[in-house]
Amino acid sequence: MTELLQTLIFGIATGAVISLSAVGLSLSYGVTRFINFSYGEFLTLGAYLTVLFVGLGLPLPAAILVGMLAVGVTGVVLARIFFDPLMRRGFLPLLVTSVGLAFVLQNLVRMIAGSNPIRFPLPLMRPWHVGALFVPKIPVLVVAVALAAMLFTHLLLTFTRIGKMMRATSDNPALARASGIATARVLAATWFLSAAIGALGGVLLAMTQIALQPVMGWSFLLVVFAAVLLGGIGNPYGAMLGSLIVGLGIELGTSYLSPDYGHAFAFAILVLVLLIRPSGLLRGAF
């Protein structure tokens, strides 16, 4: 019983990390309409830049924020250089370009930081004891941060002017343009938000995995895809639900079925979803 609860705690934490990244990916899919294979690199960059800034003497929370800002700006610049010129040429060139960009970014990180795992600079934290249950602090912290970030995103999309413009652009770009929304600027803002959220997702991923590697974002990407597709692509709220299911699926599968397959459980969920219900659990625009 306690083992099951323990597994559930880690499942929820994994789900929270996936969830946050999935929300970011959904946001950019909502306005660009292509599946961005380079999204995982925003996670990697976020984690590595945070470690870099901590190394430069910033306290961890400040380092995370600066890292998010830097990755957000990087996202806007990369989109301007690589994706914007292809926007009118159908989705295949965008898809292939995003794969190419993923290889470029991932290997630039490897060239600069080396391929050995780097420990994430987190202070040691003793777990809480609740009866016979160990409640480690890191998963709780991860869940809290992810929830806060998602609440922030929700408020931004629902109540602010830019959030409403983002939703309008995602819903119907032509109509949004006709209504006087500067869709190019909304697109840039969405790229910023999406990349910055990805960076935070990368930091949380590094916290749950203890160490960071250049390939971390790329290999996590399929898990995020699974969640996004499960929840209904382009729908951030569906993505949150999908992530919880995928996160629990990974942890339960690893604990009770076979520890060797790990992420393969997420891919199996992904494939099942695509076969049974390709539109995802929740449909509709965000």
């Binding site: 309409r33 690589f82 009118r88 040429r89 989705f91 292939v96 960009l101 470029v104």
Partner: protein, 362 residues
């Protein structure tokens, strides 16, 4: 550095990649299927061929090689080659039967995920594949018997040339037949093809399986040329190297695909010498993964550049008389480079138009 052995190795490798590109061209270039998991068919072909031809455990050859594997059937290499094609084809049938009906970018994600599942299974099935360590001592046909070791690479290259040329001829024959025309109709406008009574799901599955068989053959050629096989060889970047070869050579043109592989391998194998560049050698000493990473950066940049500036490739698909001059409806976005509609799948106006509809009801 001996140039000739290097060139022979390069050509053999390029032809094997050419076969992979030929397979992907059949699936994507001709039929428009987005296969992002191509490496899986290559991998099962390689493992199938290796396992089928390895001398059985306990045999004299097994003991002599001090081998560690658990399964080996000791069959001749041609049987391994054929079974590699069967393995690739069966995997493609399994994956294709379930997912080929998915609209294009879902198919890309599904095939990508399934390739990762295949890699995960191959990594964990130690008893069959040797796990992370793989299998050394994969038999090389006729080596030290009919062909002395000194000329072996040349003989292997000659054999590879024959096999790839035969398969190229067969594929061209197939795609120039009415069947090939039906496949292209699926790519250009699936709804219209279905309206004309073409069994589009079956056509797509056929192309997918044929591509799987060809990729399985490529796996066999690869494993016997190296004499080793391990999962680490079959990472996702292989899939995208093959994509690069197809796009660079000219999507939709079988000769272009093989040529693209040749150009690609010349570039990537050429970068092996980057470590000898004086400025870079210092960096290599401080970070051993510097040069390999630089190579992947170059592949990524090349992929981006080809799609953006060179979407029709070196040998573009030849315009076909019935399609020439036929204008599509206003749904075709104005291609940035002024490609004629319906050609140059790199810009994929047809695929783009199709997704716009698919968005609403995938």
């Amino acid at each position: 550095m001996a140039l000739l052995p290097f060139l022979v190795g390069l050509l053999t490798l390029a032809l094997i990649y050419g076969l992979l590109a030929l397979a992907l061209n059949l699936q994507f270039g001709v039929t428009g299927l987005l296969n992002f998991g191509h490496v899986a068919f290559f991998a099962v072909g390689a493992f199938a061929s290796a396992i089928v031809t390895l001398p059985p455990p306990g045999s004299a050859a097994y003991l002599q090689a001090a081998a560690q594997y658990h399964v080996g059937l000791g069959l001749p290499v041609p049987v391994g080659f054929l079974l590699a094609g069967v393995a690739g084809g069966v995997l493609a049938l399994l994956i294709g039967a379930t997912s080929v009906r998915l609209s294009s970018h879902y198919l890309a994600v599904a095939t990508f995920a399934m390739a990762e599942i295949v890699r995960s299974v191959l990594t964990n099935a130690d008893w069959l594949t040797g796990g992370e360590f793989g299998i050394a001592s994969v038999p090389q046909p006729l080596k030290n018997g009919a062909v002395p070791a000194s000329v072996y690479p040349y003989a292997y290259l000659a054999g590879t040339v024959l096999v790839v040329a035969a398969l190229l001829a067969l594929t061209v024959r197939l795609t120039e037949s009415p069947y090939g025309r039906a496949l292209r109709s699926v790519r250009d406008d699936e709804t219209a093809a279905r309206a004309l009574g073409k069994p589009t799901p079956l056509l797509k599955l056929g192309a997918f399986v044929a591509g799987g068989v060809l990729a399985g053959f490529a796996g066999s050629l690869w494993t016997h040329s190296l004499g080793v096989v391990h999962v680490g060889q079959f990472v996702p970047i292989v899939t995208f190297e093959v994509w690069l070869a197809v796009l660079m050579g000219g999507s939709g043109n079988a000769f272009g695909a093989v040529l693209g592989a040749l150009v690609l391998m010349t570039i990537t194998q050429g970068t092996r010498f980057l470590g000898d560049v004086p400025l870079l050698s210092g960096l290599t000493r401080s970070n051993p993964s510097f040069v390999p990473s630089l190579r992947f950066v170059l592949i990524g940049l090349l992929l981006i550049a080809v799609v953006r500036f060179f979407p029709r490739g070196i040998l573009p698909e030849r315009p076909r008389a019935p399609g020439r001059g036929v204008r599509r409806g206003g749904a075709v976005p104005a291609g940035g480079s002024g490609d004629p509609p319906g050609h140059g799948a790199g810009t994929a106006p047809a695929a783009g138009a199709r997704t716009d509809g698919g968005e609403e009801s995938p």
